[in-house]
């Protein structure tokens, strides 16, 4: 239990550091959002002091000392008040993020977890049946599929299954006529829209998990405790799962943590290609429109998701490996 508290303390500490950096970094940059806006206006002619005051008032130029601003910022973060988006004026940033986050978490997050579980199982099987078709097929297939660039696989699927065959929709998370609600029809529609992006992620990430698990598993199969377990006449399945695979999965948890942490930030490409209304798409919009409040909120969300994923993996390690519990 002490192990969990230590890790939790560490999580809170890094979280505080991340929030503080997120506060400091924009303030260390020269200029201000108001300057940027005024510079744009200045291209059309001179800007009067009144205009400047108006822009500054609209954007909310900070007042008070740096420390006061910091306290205020902490308060705002705690209450999820990230200000108002420039692009989607006057919608609050928190609302935009809250609307986008579930789509990314469910699509990319779920598929990442599925790919990890499925790939690990295939890797175990490949190592255990080394040299048979159960080894060759997933290994060669996985290498082949993950060698394609991500967006290229996406475009192939879009073109053939979406455009040519017309079996799947080519963009969006749900049909044009529907609105998000908790009904069977809407859920089915959402799943129908998620199939192509999900397949893309699965195809490109599965191979890595298969190969990673296969090679660590082959290593543990040569370990003495596996030989000893066989010498003691344990059932082959027990040896494969509880002795070899159980140890082989440990190093792969680290890469799983990285993959999980990259879900929110790394969804940009897939969501852009499929015009999927998730965090990645939102980030793309924010960056192209220089929407500072939105960007800042998204960066914070991405940081937090990486920290949380690492925390989850740390706890998983604690459960799976008694050596880390001390």
């Amino acid at each position: 239990m002490r192990f969990v508290f230590t890790k939790l303390g560490l999580l809170l500490l890094t979280l505080w550091a991340a929030v503080t950096l997120n506060f400091l970094l924009p303030r260390l940059m020269p200029g201000s959002p108001a300057d940027a806006a005024l510079a744009k206006l200045a291209q059309n002619g001179p800007v009067s002091p009144a205009t400047r005051a108006a822009v500054e008032a609209q954007l909310g130029v900070p007042t008070g000392s740096m420390f006061d601003q910091y306290l205020q910022y902490l308060g705002n973060v705690a209450t999820f008040d990230f200000g108002v988006s420039y692009t989607f004026f006057p919608q609050p940033v928190a609302g935009l993020v809250a609307a986008a986050l579930p789509w990314t978490l469910v699509l990319v997050g779920l598929v990442t977890i599925i790919a990890f579980i499925f790939g690990t199982l295939l890797g175990v099987l490949a190592a255990w049946k080394r040299g048979t078709w159960l080894d060759t097929l997933p290994t060669v297939g996985g290498t082949f599929a993950s060698a394609f660039p991500y967006f290229w696989t996406a475009l192939l699927l879009l073109f053939f299954l979406g455009y040519v065959a017309g079996w799947f929709p080519t963009s969006g998370a749900y049909g044009r006529g529907t609105t998000p609600e908790f009904s069977v029809e809407f859920l089915l529609d959402a799943i129908y829209h998620a199939i192509l992006p999900a397949t893309t992620i699965l195809i490109t990430s599965l191979g890595g998990w298969i190969l990673g698990m296969r090679s660590t598993m082959i290593n543990t199969l040569g370990d003495d405790y596996v030989t000893f377990a066989e010498a003691n006449g344990l059932r082959p399945r027990t040896v494969a799962i509880r002795y070899a695979a159980r140890n082989a999965i440990l190093p792969n948890l680290t890469s799983f943590g990285l993959a999980l942490g990259g879900v929110v930030g790394g969804s940009l490409l897939v969501e852009r290609v499929f015009a999927y209304p998730g965090v990645g798409y939102l980030l793309y919009t924010a960056v192209t429109n220089q929407d500072f409040p939105l960007m800042q909120a998204l960066f914070l969300i991405i940081t937090i998701s990486v920290l949380l994923a690492n925390f989850i993996v740390d706890i998983l390690y604690g459960i799976l490996d008694p050596r880390t519990r001390r």
């Binding site: 405790y225 000893f228 003691n232 006449g233 159980r246 140890n247 440990l250």
Partner: protein, 582 residues
Amino acid sequence: MSATETQAATLLSVQNLSVVYEPTGGEPVHAVSGATFDLGRGDFVGLVGESGSGKSTLGFALTGLSKPPARIGGGSILFNGVDIAGMSHEDLRVQRQGGFAMVLQSGMNALNPVRSIRNHFFDIFAAHGHVGRGDREARAIELVGKVELPAGVLDRFSGELSGGMRQRVSIALALSLEPQLMIFDEPTTALDVLVQHAVMNTIRELQKSEGFTAVLISHDLGMVLEVTERVMVMHNGLIVEDRPAADVLVSPQHPYTRMLLSHYGDPRAEIVEVPGLAARGAKRAPAVSHLKTDFVPVSDEARARAAGTEGVQRREGRAAREAIVVSGVSKVYPPPRRGEKPVRAVNDVSFTLEPGASMALVGASGSGKSTIAKMITGVEHPTSGTITFGDLQVDRIKRRSLKRLHTEVQMVFQDPYSALNPLHTVEYTLTRPIVNFGGLRGRDARRRMLELLETVGLTPVEQFAARLPHQLSGGQRQRVVIARALASDPQVIIADEPVSMLDVSLRAGVLALLDSLRETWGVSMLYITHDLLSARLVTDQIMVLNQGAVVEEGATASVLQNPRDEYTIRLLDAIPHPTVGH
């Protein structure tokens, strides 16, 4: 084999067994060929050989554990009259309960690090169903009790146990199969001397009380002769000797057995010598061996060098002239975990290594001997006390002076397999220190490199210079390591267990080389070991360390002949010795 044995008394009958290694893309190699022998019920048999002799391969074949690339090439293994050589995997698996069990060489890693000891037992009970669900806990406690461990060990994980405890757990696990045949493959090799002794005693007692047939596979003929009734000696895949232990000791038949035996000696004896290494202080006669050993050409070569007939001379004016003075040195490490006491690795140790002297630093693992070596080489700084070498204040040495220290004080490491970078040739490995410390370049550096190879007896030198570590044997690698230590023309060599990883027949050669360096080059040597016999052979002075403190010191011969400290006596008693018998 013997005529008095009746058919029913024979448990295992091996006929013309051969095991082939078939590496992919390589020539098949016969690791074991034509093995034929019987084991009677309740026998305790030793299987002895050096690395690569095929003894472990045979052990794995006997327990049905041969895995690709190894394959049983022919012959039969009749266990209770049933041939297990061609049995399917599942049939073999079922046979193991009440059949045959194996305790592995590196018992340290034989336990699943993420599974509790209790679950190890329960897995075996579940796989064979020979212990009812309700009785499993009681049976597991009983089994760990048999290997003298408390019941609490069941809740632990292997990482929380010491090496000796882990090996005991492995033995208890193997016992839980209620086997008729137990094969112990180097069961105590990785353990500390005293622990080794204790575990071996447990095995002997268990064999008597449980009555299983036992095969003890070991490289250590001394231990096998002490423990077993019958000895089989393997050499190049062949069983070259198979006779009662007492006969092997008195009248070994095969030259290989004679060679192995000749390398044993009692460090307590009046005169101690092995082939290639004369008794210390005695006049070096060309033929010192009391047993003819035409089997080890390497020791002849070493003997010749020890007499100073070949090898390059040291560059002028470089003989050891400064002493290492260690006074009142202690090293305290911070506690490994919070709430525990700090670790006092070395406690108030003082000694002087005179120029040209050779001193042994003896003790079990954890006695602080390696920590002392680290402090003398400036890798670690002492918590208190001083170490001086000439005008160098080693205990407070700075990065700038380190290079000077390392020019004069060099290490020879324990494991020649990991002390050399596998990607670099011998030439590269030796040239680096020549360039860094000696300041030689180009042709001069190369000439010096070849000289060094000649000094350590790796001839023809041009050929050895071009080799990579994996193309060398263990003994040759250790010679390269020694040559590397000599490259800077040091005054002092610190040899940390330089022969413990080598086969018996190679040890004498390496020891003779180290000894001759002292004679012909005038290097002082600090020889760190747990092996009292080798300490007796190559050193004049000895210090016995126990838990960081010096418990006994003096002239090597007199300390070992008349040990006063209880710890020294225990160390001496723990040495397996063939003449002691059983």
